[in-house]
Symmetry: C2
Subunit: 222 residues, 2 copies
């Protein structure tokens, strides 16, 4: 059986889980405690990070963006990176936006401070970093709102990896209760649509020791 | 004519210049002073960053990794992201390694502190950040050395985007005199090979106001 080494609150892992499920590819999840520096895991991925996909034929594919491109190459039947050249540029631009800008400006500051610091035994969250994260989150929610208001899905007319990467980051923040949905109605409407898809079900039932998600987290009519 | 908006010392811009030249695609360079927050440039790329490629047909492609995938989709004749599934995974893994890990752990700490801070009017380099950058650089040079010693090119048997992304980051650091080549002979041998390719010539003649590269920078027999 195909295996995905992951961590429940890692947006990068969530992104790959959504891509795999949407493409109809079954997989088993293995939690990888990356902070324990497991030697056999470092052989799979010298970067020491999740997600890592291991195929039945032994092919090892490390890293969310490498996996996304691999899945599109290997299983093109349900295209999630666009069909036309223009769609492919726009969807990849948004994957890059979330995996680089949103990751550095929001996810590292909030999920990193609140969850990873504790897991890695690096002490308490830094108030200044959290504040910067919340400020950046408002800017990014405005941008997602603009995309959601002017397009059917974030990347254009069809559901794509752009929706999955955005929803992966936002769902991790929502788990921590960090999103004020009242202030972002267009984002909420788009998120309610993607949250109600079958591929999202597993993500919403994840639990992380020491963190209780808000009541609306798994509620499809939040 | 195809246009590439760039900055001379941006490794991301250098990567795209090498890809374009190696694929035999002519282009004109336009320097984009991103710190001036030019409104028309933000329309091309909402992230406000170089590189941005503008094709003759008006297609706008922002971001180094988006451009690399686009060039491979649009001009597949000289493949630089690999031919087999395994090659494609390994080359993309290394592009991800340099664009994420090397970028955050080395390039931001050294090129960011020494050049960008000055351009953005953010004061002098921070000694602690530089020190962290040099320490991380030693680790990364060991890893590149291991790849260079065990393979013909960094990504495998053939020249690929993995070589170009590594050489782009290292050439920017070399411009600043930050690489001790005596301590990394395998890396030096590989770099001498890639530096002598025609596609590298333009990069080596770049000049940046206020920075003088070391004598060996453009020397092919350094």
């Amino acid at each position: 059986m195909r295996i995905l080494h992951h961590l429940p609150l890692s947006p990068q892992s969530r992104f790959v889980r959504l891509m795999l499920t949407e493409k109809g590819l079954p997989f088993e999840l293995v939690v990888e405690k990356t902070w324990e520096q497991n030697e056999s895991f470092h052989k799979l991925n010298p970067a020491g990070e999740v997600p890592v996909l291991v195929e039945d034929n032994g092919m090892v594919v490390p890293g969310s963006r490498v996996i996304a491109e691999y899945l599109e190459d290997a299983y093109p039947d349900t295209p999630l990176l666009g069909r036309t050249m223009g769609e492919r540029v726009e969807i990849r631009r948004l994957v890059d936006w979330f995996e680089r800008l949103f990751q550095q400006e929001v996810t590292v500051n909030l999920v990193g401070e609140k969850v990873e610091k504790r897991l890695f035994g690096q002490g308490h969250p830094d108030g200044n970093i959290l504040q910067a994260g919340y400020k950046n989150l408002r800017f990014h929610l405005d941008y997602v709102g603009y995309l959601a208001e002017t397009r059917t899905w974030l990347g254009g007319a069809t559901l794509s990896a752009a929706d999955f990467i955005a929803a992966s980051h936002l769902s991790a923040l929502d788990f921590l209760g960090d999103i004020d949905w009242r202030a972002a109605p267009c984002v909420r409407d788009w998120y309610a649509r993607i949250k109600s898809r079958p591929c999202f079900r597993d993500l919403l039932s994840d639990r992380v020791s020491g963190v209780t998600p808000p009541a609306h987290y798994a509620d499809l009519d939040f």
